[in-house]
Symmetry: C2
Subunit: 550 residues, 2 copies
């Protein structure tokens, strides 16, 4: 080997604890605010690793968390991978049966549990053989919970504040996260040390989400969602102050943490920011320290971009996937668009962005050809790069469907404009395949929902003898709507905008659009109800195309 | 393998040519200015790769360059590594015998030669069996040179502008550079694809030398010095406009390129910027586009930092090594020093800086212990990280001396202050070991040279029976100096500043300090002259601790 040492998380922890020893890590915990320095943090991470050694955790063992965004959770983030274990963040919002499946599938040895989630964990674990032999540690006082568990502080107390961090190979599994599809069992994605290192460095680039020692970083996106989009690792590498907003932060909590801790950079799904915007209407909130808000999970409304712009805060739209660890693209405004009018700029910034350095992509249409970058054509987005998984954990069936020639098939159907901005137009399993062409269900839905008398709408493809599939629109009228004319009004609207073959074959009224457990439109349920069969429409691609918060 | 695709240069070329197709690559060539886009660049890189295929270049073959900073040189930068070959940049300033040694040692298959260096190449190659079977390509009209060579444009003409870039393994050798020590044969350092990828990403970080699409990047540091500190790769990844200053740019060339191309970021050794500063005194130069000047190779004088500050330009001092590809540390001002007084800030920024994320270091004193970070103690700097070589090419002897437990022993003796800023106090082979303690020869030299009547001075350690070594100062007095009193005046100055055991045992007058071929003080020659023997003082560490320009 001519060179190249291993890429691990170790240098990031080392750098922050040595160069930013006094920089703070602040956490809103169940029992009040916690405030420590990177120096103290590194000591506690070493104590935790020593405690896990004593518990019998060995190289390659899975160390799970069932936690909100707190400083103790962040301690597991570095301790488990750096000692050679694997950080497995479990989504506590999943149904119990999924949690049991995941704990067994991952072979978790120990689970760290937030006190506020102890009841949920007790319910999932009760009588479940999947939990046999699994140690539990509560991130607080275990006696105050129904769990037979250790309390975190006594678990690490008395251990040495030094740990001889090993030299780990690049491909050592360091992290794990399950994607939670709407159908089938969750699929595990493993992150190697090198994948997390690469993701951190790509995030740090000016084209990603750069963080430096003058940043105060607060991930609102949960730490169980793809490592909070990797932010705790990136912030450590950059030497930023970190703020963890704790269990179920409401808009008032978020506002006061921004004000009191001087947050410069935060991240979450659009609903979080809509909540904050609403809160700011009624309350006097000082957002002056805030520079950037990262929005992901679903599209940022343009009104949100404008609202933050008015307050001197840049909204950066990011797109990624669990399989990508997760960042892929970020909607930075390209420098040659700086002279464009503001509407054009907002239009560009509202897209899913341009790919960070180190990731390559291609967009393949139904004929297997690469699409033109004209903002019109669309196809399925494929990606490759050093932060992207090559397979699912113990799921050869899913591997065959989702990987091809070294590319990950994202399941997102996108267009790419002349400037290289990606825009998601649909999920591959929701796009309607009609007569050899693709119709975006999302575009039709958005167009229909623009009608004042439409409360909600969704469009699915239904099997068609001649055309393979044809679109059918499902509309929830408002209370005041005239049901006799609404369907025709909707069709007239669409006729103005779309070619004839895009127009739905029917507009059906329903009382509500079926939703998934996390509040998203469940087209699967609708297809089952409408066609009596889901065979023709079962998609193969993961639901969670982007990191999300529920 | 759970995941992680290979880390290669390919995504950087892909990204620039797709997302920044119209961004310019400008070059001051021997026959005038050249101006192309990344789109055209990518076409030409593919043509070059196809031409090299036809020449018989195969996976792992070395493709050498003997060139200044030009666009054609930059084409070899991506073509050779991306097709699976290895870019070997030869320093044309080396003596002929070293060039012959290097060409044979590296087993170069083809060498691209700048027209202005054709005479030099002809001299080195004449009658040399090392050049048998080596193809030559002139970066211009070969007929106008004494070389039996192809002309670059006809070499690539007519070839396909597409190339099916292969999937290369991480550890595929992609680059090569020889360190040119003052003693012994040059030592080859190989860069794998992953090392160059990692270096590019670390450079892109805010803690490195970030580059984005609003930057215009001009490396004045030669492209044969550790890939011009990696800047052509980093600028491509960032989508920056690039400006290549061509053969032997003088201050007027540099000034006009900055003005005409709107350069925002440039890099080179201090003498380049001293030349520009001098030129600006006599000429009206518009530096308004310039944001940052990277200085490396040797220390940036504080007056230079202040001069550029006055013009709104940030001087960033960088430290690195050929073995590191090369960037290690950059002297960014830490955010908690923003409130410090200006002198303190300049003091910090004049040091070698703080290590970029991804690199770890330790500083070991003569007893093998890590030093305190107090800005006083010093020891040898050891580094490790994914951009650092693990061995020299075919030089097991050097490997034993320069590598230890996964660390590269840099040969630089440094102190580290409370803020983590590294300061080079000496070369390990020049530091004076006296009575179990170390004395910095560089510090004594700087102190002595502060005397008005001293033109030059150097300090070496000479063998001593009791103390192992003792410092002896060699002083070149100015023409006006009083040689009867100067030695005592110098000693009096030192007595005020340094402990007694630091004081030289003697001050000797000499006519001039012996210099190396590249103009640096040659302590080796002085030791030979003074002691009649160099045995005791032959260092083992490489001379070129930092990327340099001659």
């Amino acid at each position: 080997m001519p060179g190249g040492h291993t890429q691990t998380l170790r240098p990031f922890l080392w750098r922050a604890s040595k160069l930013y020893e006094d920089t703070e890590i602040v956490s809103r915990n169940h029992d009040g605010m916690s405030r420590r320095t990177y120096g103290e943090y590194a000591d506690r991470v070493a104590q935790l690793a020593n405690a896990l050694d004593d518990l019998g955790i060995e190289d390659g063992d899975r160390v799970a968390t069932f936690c909100w965004n707190t400083d103790r959770h962040f301690e597991v983030y570095f301790a488990a991978p750096s000692m050679g274990g694997q950080l497995h963040t479990i989504n506590p919002l999943l149904p119990d049966e999924h949690i049991r499946y995941i704990v067994e599938n991952a072979d978790d040895q120990v689970i760290f549990v937030d006190p506020s989630l102890a009841e949920k964990m007790a319910g999932a674990a009760e009588g479940a053989e999947e939990f046999e032999g699994v140690d539990l540690v509560v991130m607080g006082d275990a006696d105050a919970t129904p769990l037979d568990a250790a309390s975190y502080e006594s678990f690490i107390e008395g251990y040495d504040t030094d740990y001889d961090w090993p030299d780990l190979p690049d491909d050592q599994p360091a992290g794990m996260c399950y994607t939670s599809g709407t159908t089938g069992k969750p699929k595990g994605v493993e992150y190697t040390q090198s994948m997390l290192w690469s993701h951190t460095m790509m995030s740090l680039s000016p084209q990603g989400i750069p963080m430096a020692d003058d940043d105060v970083v607060m991930p609102v996106v949960p730490m169980f969602h793809v490592n909070a989009w990797g932010m705790p690792f990136t912030a450590t590498a950059g030497g930023s102050k970190q703020v963890f907003p704790g269990p179920s932060p409401d808009p008032a909590d978020i506002a006061s943490l921004i004000e009191e801790e001087g947050v410069t950079l935060t991240a979450g799904v659009p609903t979080v920011w809509l909540g904050l915007m609403e809160y700011c209407k009624e309350n006097d909130v000082d957002l002056s320290t805030l520079d950037r808000v990262i929005v992901g999970g679903s599209a940022a409304p343009k009104s949100m971009i404008r609202w933050f712009d008015d307050r001197g805060v840049e909204v950066l739209h990011a797109w990624g996937m669990t399989e990508m660890a997760p960042i892929g693209s970020v909607s930075h405004l390209k420098s040659d668009l700086e002279g464009a009018d503001y509407d054009t700029q907002v239009e560009k910034r509202g897209k899913q962005g341009i790919m960070v350095p180190g990731i390559e992509f291609r967009v393949i249409d139904e004929d297997g050809e690469e699409i033109a970058w004209d903002g019109e054509e669309f196809g399925e987005l494929h990606v490759r790069g050093p932060s992207i998984t090559k397979e699912y954990f113990k799921r050869p069936d899913a591997n065959e469907e989702d990987f091809e020639d070294g590319w990950l098939k994202t399941g997102d159907v996108v267009s790419v404009d002349e400037d290289g901005y990606i825009k998601i137009v649909d999920r591959a399993k929701d796009v309607i395949k009609s007569g050899g062409e693709w119709i975006s269900s999302v575009e039709l839905e958005n167009a229909i929902m623009a009608h004042d008398d439409v409360q909600e709408a969704t469009v699915i493809g239904v099997p068609h003898e001649k055309w393979q599939e044809r679109p059918v629109a499902f509309v929830v009228p408002t209370a005041d709507a005239d049901r006799d004319t609404l369907d025709e009004e909707v069709m007239d609207m669409l006729r103005d905008e779309y070619p004839k073959w895009w127009l739905p074959d029917a507009v059906e009224y329903i009382d509500e659009v079926p939703k998934t457990a996390t509040g998203k439109f469940s087209k699967k349920d609708l297809r089952e109800q409408y066609t009596g069969s889901m065979e023709l429409h079962e998609g193969s691609v993961p639901e969670d195309a982007a990191p999300e918060q529920d």
